[in-house]
């Protein structure tokens, strides 16, 4: 299990390959990556992510440990950036390895659902029309009820 909180960009491909390589006991590898999205109707200059150093790592480790306890996971990876990033840049990724695909998929969705609402990150969108903190969505909170 590897948890990384960093300001610098990461390379999805290199991370996915490193995560997947050298395993002969895990038949299924799932990755999710989140990308800064631009909205042509409200052009985005950049997104800035604030976080709570110390608590962030602790919260992510707890979420990943819970996923490992609930599913047959061989391994899990979480990388999450903070600081400024441009549209099209990767914000974060998770990866899961499991003997079977259902476990790998469910654990990745679980990691994403919890990371979204329980890890202390806050997104601010800086657009040409001004800055605004991204509001949490009810559907993200509701997503936790299925686990």
């Amino acid at each position: 299990m590897r948890i990384v909180v960093q300001e610098n960009p990461f390379d999805l491909g290199a991370e996915a390959n490193a995560f997947a390589s050298g395993r002969t006991d895990m038949g299924a590898i799932v990755t999710f990556s989140g990308v800064v999205r631009d909205d042509p109707a409200h052009p985005l200059r950049q997104m800035v992510i604030e976080h709570y150093p110390g608590m962030t790592e602790k919260a992510l480790e707890k979420i990943a440990a819970e996923a490992q306890a609930r599913w047959s996971l061989g391994d899990a990876l979480v990388i999450h950036r903070f600081g400024p990033m441009q549209p099209g840049e990767m914000i974060m990724m998770v990866a899961t390895a499991a003997p079977h695909r259902r476990d790998a998929f469910e654990a990745a969705e679980y990691l994403m659902d919890y990371l979204k609402s329980r890890a202390p990150f806050w997104k601010k969108e800086q657009g040409v029309e001004g800055d605004a903190w991204v509001a949490a969505k009810d559907e993200d909170e509701d997503a936790l009820t299925r686990w």
């Binding site: 989140g34 992510i49 604030e50 976080h51 709570y52 110390g54 608590m55 602790k58 919260a59 999450h80 914000i91 974060m92 994403m112 990371l115 979204k116 609402s117 329980r118 890890a119 202390p120 990150f121 806050w122 997104k123 601010k124 903190w133 991204v134 509001a135 949490a136 909170e141």
Partner: protein
């Protein structure tokens, strides 16, 4: 003495990222009442607790959580990671 941390728009509204306060507050809610009484910007930041989340010593908790032995309390809006 307790370290109080503010994040996102709570930090912007209060104008501080972190401060130390000398408090005898028994619970988070008591601490919030003390802060609210201080200045308009605190009253404003804490006007709607349903829009806020709190962590005590880096664990998410509720506003009725006790503060006995706590070293760090953080206030922030609902999280928007991912």
């Amino acid at each position: 003495m307790i370290d109080i941390l503010y994040f996102a728009w709570v930090r912007e509204r209060i104008g501080l990222a972190r401060e130390q306060v000398d408090t005898q507050a028994a619970t988070v809610a008591d601490l919030v009442a003390e802060l609210r009484a201080r200045e308009e910007r605190y009253a404003l930041a804490f006007s709607d607790l349903s829009a806020l989340r709190v962590a005590v010593d880096q664990d998410l908790t509720d506003f009725d959580a006790p503060l006995a032995g706590a070293r760090e309390v953080a206030f922030f809006p609902p999280m928007t990671g991912g």
